[in-house]
Symmetry: C2
Subunit: 206 residues, 2 copies
Amino acid sequence: MNSNKIPDIIIGRLPVYLRALQRLSEKGILTTSSQELGEIIGISAAQIRKDISQFGEFGKQGTGYSIPFLIERLRDILKVDRVWEVIIVGVGDIGHALARYNGFSNRGFHISMVFDNDKQKIGQKVGEFEILDTATLPEKVKQNKIKIAMLTVPAAAAQELTDHLVKAGVKAILNYAPISLNVPPGVHVQYIDPVTHLQRMTYYLD
Amino acid sequence: MNSNKIPDIIIGRLPVYLRALQRLSEKGILTTSSQELGEIIGISAAQIRKDISQFGEFGKQGTGYSIPFLIERLRDILKVDRVWEVIIVGVGDIGHALARYNGFSNRGFHISMVFDNDKQKIGQKVGEFEILDTATLPEKVKQNKIKIAMLTVPAAAAQELTDHLVKAGVKAILNYAPISLNVPPGVHVQYIDPVTHLQRMTYYLD
């Protein structure tokens, strides 16, 4: 497998394929086709076939894809065949929701710590987690070799915390703050922005 | 403009271009290049040029793109040169965060109503909004010709509420619930799922 050559734009679609396949699998379905997947996801069957063929020969003409096999390969490619420890930085509404979200564990992630800098919140519980002081974040991130953080702080605090996270060894940040983060090469940022999703739909409205 | 022919996958990237351009514009920058945009967004310059060329001749060789002009065209194409009224259904953590988020108004959206079915919440305030009873949702959606909803309810309630929304005339749903929604043709759904974003990054980690 030449996974280093796979364009980022294809990598971006693989988690969407994996999610759809896992949902089919939960219903007890064992095989699917690029047509069926395409209808679920809203991507053309040709695009799906092309993307999946990057990783080898999966489907047989006429019999479709084996769902368990394709799930296993995608989990392997995306490196979610293991469990990544993730921290939450910022316990506002979104941080709260993430700390109590139960959809991480069977998809490759485990929340390990939750931080806030508000003295009223430190020591309190959110879900099963005690809220830790952001001042201890660099030390705890290093100790536990944390590579992934979800950043749910106000925009004004986001860059400074990003710098701390990066310095402590974090390599992937899921950013909910409505600003662009500056990070050095080798550190990955993804943005959760409801407006881009809304704008993608208004194109189709009258 | 032959906008009906633009593949959905390109449409999906336009809001990301628009966001990057608006951020540059806020800094007082007037022109940019596909290289610069590409570095900000993490998409190749060639892809950006190809996408943008679908809508006509924008950049001049050697002088780059006029940011105000490109913003205007993208806002026009995505139909966010107007203001869309949006409702929030479900006032949990995420609904709370969205009701108080101030990033909608200058990007084409205005929250008009907020609903929940919890008697303890109905009549309370969230941000500037009074929480309305979900039982009145179909009537209020029809009266106000609402086309867009953000659905932030538990998974178990999401499909039933979707059916109500669709019946009342909603054409675009931003779904935060961790399930796939069944909607008829002509109704658009986008999913906000932190795990797909995390999985997109783990691919690059060691």
